[in-house]
Structures are given as structure tokens and as C-alpha cells.
Amino acid sequence: MNHDLLQAIQANVLSPALLFFVLGLLAAVLRSDLRFPEPLYVALTIYLLVAIGLKGGVAIAEAGWARVGLPTLAALLLGTVIPLWAYPILRFLGRFSAVDAAAIAAHYGSVSAVTFGAATQYLDRLGESYEAYASAFLAVMESPAILIGVLLGKLAARGSDTIRWSSISTALREAVLGRSVFLLVGALGIGALSGRAGMDQVGPFFTAPFQGVLALFLLEMGMVAGRRLGDLRKVGGFLVGFGMVMPVLHGALGVGVGDWCGLTVGGTTLMGVLAASASYIAAPAAIRLSLPDANPTYYLTAALVITFPFNIALGVPLYYELARRLVH
């Protein structure tokens, strides 16, 4: 590891966001009675998704769909390709059953809005600017991988009596109308329609507090992940390695794609982060309903307990360093 990267990681480790995540892990491990009630969790996610969406929508209105189109299409493609190559790795190297491999692949092709938020916070702290319309990449990457994963899982199970197109349509419903996609896309649309002028009023509520709310949310995520630390022993060494190696590969791929699209260092970093991140909310919900035979311990542990912390601690600075070298 080189000097710059080490510094970047160090700066990240002492950021409040990461420290709150660690505090959450501690709360879970030490079995403190600190607990976020479910409605608070829901309120925080609504706030974060709407804030991310609005910001991106306004940026789209300002940049014009023309400039946003190419990188958004590229992001969508990334989300489609990743599960297709992750599947055989899981199936043949990891020796997972077809349905488990498909389920895990879906999670890695999809994305984590909180990781994205943490990455924008990281860039802000460094004073590195980025295309604010990157929220659009986030929005289009959430669903495709889930659909691909469900298709893979169903095709593999062909012959059994469990093939039902109804489960594909269930997946489609969940992937498109699920809480997080719906809110993100909706807020993006509202931002794009009402533009900067419209944001003058609602803006203050969704900008200044954003970073603090994200920090609190990471405290909660630390607790959620911490309570599942024990599952690490159940998933085997392969998946632990997968959860850290794949993000790096996907991150590099994303950075390459971002650079190819002509994004700035910041935007390229975000494309890398999105590719590297794994979904632990939208994907699990959709997969649970559409591929009920897949074992949730595998995909949840990989996405939430391994990849999420890896990305917010080490991944983000790493993809940023990659972007800096490539774009400059």
C-alpha cells in the first residue's frame, strides 16, 4: 500500500461516520441495551433516500438529461453484468447451490444507498467535487441485478415444480415498487421537475442535517451488523474472502467505467463505490420472496457484515485513490 492511500484510510478511520459505525458494533458486541426503535430506523431511511434523490434530481435538471444519460446507462449495465459474472464464481469456485449463488450474486450487483452517502461525505470532507446527479446511477443500479439474480435462480431450478412466473413478477414488483427504489426514484423525479427554484424551500431540511443524520444511521447499522457478527462463523472462509475481494474488483471496474464516461475524479469514485457496494435492504427483501429456498444467512452476512463495513472503512478511500490515478 502506498503512502497516499494509507493517509486517505487514516483520515477516514477518524471520521465521525465511521466512528459511529464502530460505536454501534460495540453496542451490539457488549450487549448494551441501546436500541433504535423500528419507526426511527424507517424515518432515517426515508430522510436519507429523499435527500439523496432530491439532490440528484436537481442536478439532473441542471445538467440536462443529455449529459446524465451516458453514465446512467453505463451504471445500469454495470448492475446487469456484475451478477452474471459473480454467479459462476459463487457456483463453481464457492460451491454454493444454484439458488444461493444466484441470491448472493443479486446482492452484489445491486447497491447500498448508505455506502453511497458515506462516499459523498468522504468526498465532501476532502473538498473533492463530484457530479451531483450521481444519485441517478444509484437509482438505476438498485433493481436490475435483483431481477437477473431471480432469473438465474429460477432457471437453475428448472425441472422442479417451483418454477412459477409469479415469483418473477413478485421480484419485479419488489425491485421496482419496494420502499427504497420507489422513494429514491420518486425524489429524483421531484427534484428534476421542480429544479433548483423548487428546492429553495425544502432544501434546508434536506441538506444541512444530512451528514449528521447519516452518522446516526451508521450507529444503527453498526448495531444491526454487530448483532450478526456471530453468523460469520456459519458462512465459511470463501464467502468472507468473496465479500472483500469482489468489492475491490467491482470497485476497479466501476472506476474504469466512470473514467470512460468522462466523469470527474469524484464521480468516478462514486461509480466505483456503487459497483463495489452490495445491497442489504432492497435485495434481501426481494430475494426472500422470490427465491425462498436461498439461505438468508449467506447473502445477509456477506452484504451486511462483511462488504458494508469493508467498503465504508477501506473501500471508499481505495476507490478514490484508484480514481485519482486513472482520471488525472
Binding site: 423500528e38 444491526v224 420472496l289 425462498p292
Partner: protein, 100 residues
């Protein structure tokens, strides 16, 4: 005051099963139901009720015996293999039999 025997079916399971359960209740002909947000633990691990997607619900349905049997049959066949779930039956008495 006449009190009529009736059966109470209670279903506890992961909250992602909410919509499929609702569909089932309509199909077997239940005329009402009540939902609780709960947390719990069972053979398929702990559900701490912190994140809606990882959480638990309980449904209580008052139904005549024939509907109860049909409902339990469907649960056993279609739901138990797919969802973390528990269901049980309890004898109760109600005031207005025609409601159920």
C-alpha cells in the same frame, strides 16, 4: 347473551410474509384479521424487530372451524416451507357468530 364457539388461528412469522398471508386470508374466506408488530426468536434465528425487512408479525384471525382447518392446511403446504413461521389454534367464544 348467547356465546358461540369459534376458533382463533394465530400466525407468527417474518414480516415479509405479510402480503402473501393477507392474500391467503382472503382466499380462505376470513372476514377480518388483526396484525401485531412483534419481535421474536425461533428455529430460524432471531428477529429483533429493528428493520422492517428483517422483522416479525403476528396475525390473529377468528374463524369458524371449517375455515380454520382450511387455513392451517394451506399454511402447512404453502407457507411453512417458505417462511420462518409458527401457527396455532385456540378455542374461543364470541358474541356475534355471524360476524366471522
Amino acid at each position: 347473551m348467547t356465546i358461540h364457539p369459534m376458533q382463533l388461528v394465530t400466525i407468527i412469522g417474518e414480516s415479509l410474509a405479510r402480503e402473501p398471508i393477507l392474500k391467503l386470508l382472503r382466499e380462505v374466506g376470513a372476514h377480518g384479521w388483526t396484525f401485531f408488530e412483534v419481535s421474536g426468536s425461533g428455529r430460524q434465528g432471531e428477529r429483533t424487530g429493528e428493520i422492517p425487512e428483517y422483522s416479525n408479525i403476528q396475525v390473529e384471525v377468528i374463524v369458524p372451524p371449517a375455515v380454520a382447518e382450511n387455513l392451517l392446511n394451506r399454511l402447512q403446504h404453502d407457507f411453512f416451507p417458505r417462511f420462518a413461521m409458527v401457527a396455532y389454534l385456540c378455542e374461543i367464544r364470541v358474541l356475534r357468530a355471524h360476524k366471522f
